[in-house]
């Protein structure tokens, strides 16, 4: 009998505080292979922080974060850098290196972390640009691109190393609804093409339902619901129901007002 493979990402009782400010208060989350999990929550609820914990950029105050069964919180910088090569991150504002053109932005991890030849790197850059439909901007600087274009280049950079896990931080932030839908479709098609697991942080319900196979809700520093997209849509949890409907009456605003 073969042993069950460990989940791609697992957070066990993760607490995080910045000084006196408590951000996460016991997060438990398990993400299985090839899942597309959207993490929903109010602005400032700690969703992006969750991604930075998985990537090892932040270390939790207490609790453990596992990537494929390995504890990220206790790793040295050297080991962490190796793990990070298997994780792609797509930033809210793309975070492209402003001094490098699109080609060099995508080629950077390949040049620094692999022993590929320049011709192989060029081929791979072209392939990923093709996947996000941005072949024509290869030689442009990030400052010459629109928000949607930058986002797509950010996506291409996120998958350039063929990662096992892709983290998306608010992929639709600052984009119009049509471009947001294009990005959402791209996220789904990319994760299917390269077979990667995806964690998408967002507070946009439309995007969340378009992308997700599973959905989780982060509220007051804890994951209060984690289920399939269909179950999440029909959830009877008052916070989840209010967040989905966008109703002004309910526990979310009551708590915010009393806080």
């Amino acid at each position: 009998m073969s042993a069950e493979p460990p989940p791609v990402v697992e957070l066990r009782d993760v607490h995080l505080a910045f000084g006196e400010t408590k951000v996460l208060g016991g997060v438990n989350l398990c993400v299985t292979e090839r899942a597309r999990l959207t993490v929903l929550g109010q602005s400032g609820s700690g969703k992006s922080t969750l991604l930075r914990l998985i990537l090892g950029i932040l270390r939790p105050t207490a609790g453990t974060v596992f990537f494929k069964g390995r504890d990220v919180t206790k790793m040295s910088r050297r080991r962490l850098n190796r793990i990070r090569q298997k994780i792609g991150m797509v930033y809210q504002y793309s975070a492209l290196i402003s001094s490098l053109n699109v080609r060099d932005n995508l080629a950077l991890p390949l040049e620094e972390l692999t022993r590929m030849t320049p011709a192989e790197i060029d081929r791979k850059v072209d392939e990923k640009l093709e996947m996000v439909g941005m072949s024509e901007v290869r030689d442009r600087m990030p400052s010459e691109l629109s928000g949607g274009m930058r986002k797509r280049i950010g996506l291409a950079r996120g998958i350039i190393m063929d990662p096992e896990l892709i983290l998306y931080d608010e992929p639709g932030a600052g984009l119009d609804p049509v471009i947001t839908s294009v990005i959402d479709e791209l996220i789904v098609s990319l994760s299917e093409k390269i077979g990667a697991t995806s964690i998408i942080v967002t507070h946009e319900m439309g995007s969340a339902f378009r992308i997700a196979t599973r959905m989780a809700m982060l509220y007051r520093g804890e994951i209060i619901a984690e289920e399939t997209a269909e179950d999440f849509k029909n959830s009877s949890h008052p916070v989840v129901a209010q967040f989905i409907s966008g109703d002004t009456k309910g526990p979310i605003l009551e708590h915010t007002a009393s806080a």
Partner: protein, 263 residues
């Protein structure tokens, strides 16, 4: 009024953070070398050396030329009533090689390059570019900090030589005009007065100042918080901190050197 103990504690924390920045950068570079790869991008290193070294030559040369000229002029007039103006070349040569060359160059490079490093890395930090580099597993310290620190560390002695020569030229010119001292006499007198230990002391100081400028300005850039205003504040603070630290270390070096060699 701020608690003096918390101010001292905060200063010590910052010093230890800068030391850890150096250690972590060296470790990341070492890891890279163990993988039989160059620790940083050679092209980035040469970009930084050109910016730090070649780009600073006009400023360093011009300022040092004027300081050397002024120093020779003022000391010459003070010494003339005693008939001792022939001491001007020795005075300028020793003062610049051992003290003013490294110190003035340190201050100029801190203002010019330290500010640029902090502003550049600060802007990258605010735009999440540094986090993206770290998140890709590239090693932000190796990739961003090591070429900058090494460039300023290795180029400082060269800039000090430029500063010394420019100051001597200024002093020679004014000595010829104001005190009728031929260039040949000025040069011979200057060279006769220089000791190896003066040159070594100046070189050691310049390397130390280069390290301080590189590390502190990169540290300030990487720890920027609060958007554009944060970058501005960090840049100002970086220049002030670097200049103060350079002067403090200069004093410390002088005390040590005098205690060791000038008894």
């Amino acid at each position: 009024m701020a608690n003096p103990f918390s101010a001292v504690r905060s200063a010590l924390e910052q010093v230890s953070s800068v030391v850890w920045l150096l250690i972590d950068t060296v470790v990341e570079m070492g890891d890279r070398i163990m993988q039989r790869r160059f620790p940083f991008r050679v092209s980035t290193f040469f970009e930084q050396t050109e910016r730090t070294g070649v780009g600073s030559i006009p400023l360093v040369a011009l300022v040092s030329f004027f300081i050397g000229l002024t120093m020779a002029l003022l000391t010459g007039y003070q010494l003339r009533p005693f008939g001792q103006e022939q001491l001007v070349p020795q005075l300028v040569a020793v003062a610049f090689t051992r003290e003013l060359g490294p110190l003035m160059t340190g201050i100029m490079v801190a203002a010019r390059i330290g500010a640029a490093y902090t502003a550049e890395l600060g802007t990258m930090t605010v735009a999440e570019e540094v986090e993206a580099i770290e998140g890709m597993g590239l090693g932000a310290l190796r990739y961003l900090v090591s070429p900058r620190v090494l460039a300023v560390f290795l180029l400082m002695p060269c800039l000090v030589v430029v500063s010394d020569i420019a100051a001597m030229c200024g002093a020679a010119l004014i000595s010829r005009w104001a005190f009728d001292m031929p260039f040949r006499i000025f040069t011979e007198s200057s060279l006769d007065s220089l000791l190896i230990r003066d040159i070594v002391a100046g070189t050691v100081k310049s390397l130390l100042f280069g390290l301080i400028i590189g590390l502190v300005s990169c540290y300030r850039g990487l720890t920027v918080r609060g958007g554009a205003a944060g970058v501005g504040a960090a840049t100002t603070s970086s220049v002030v901190t670097v200049i103060t630290t350079v002067i403090a270390f200069d004093t410390l070096c002088n005390v040590v050197l005098v205690a060791l060699f000038d008894k």
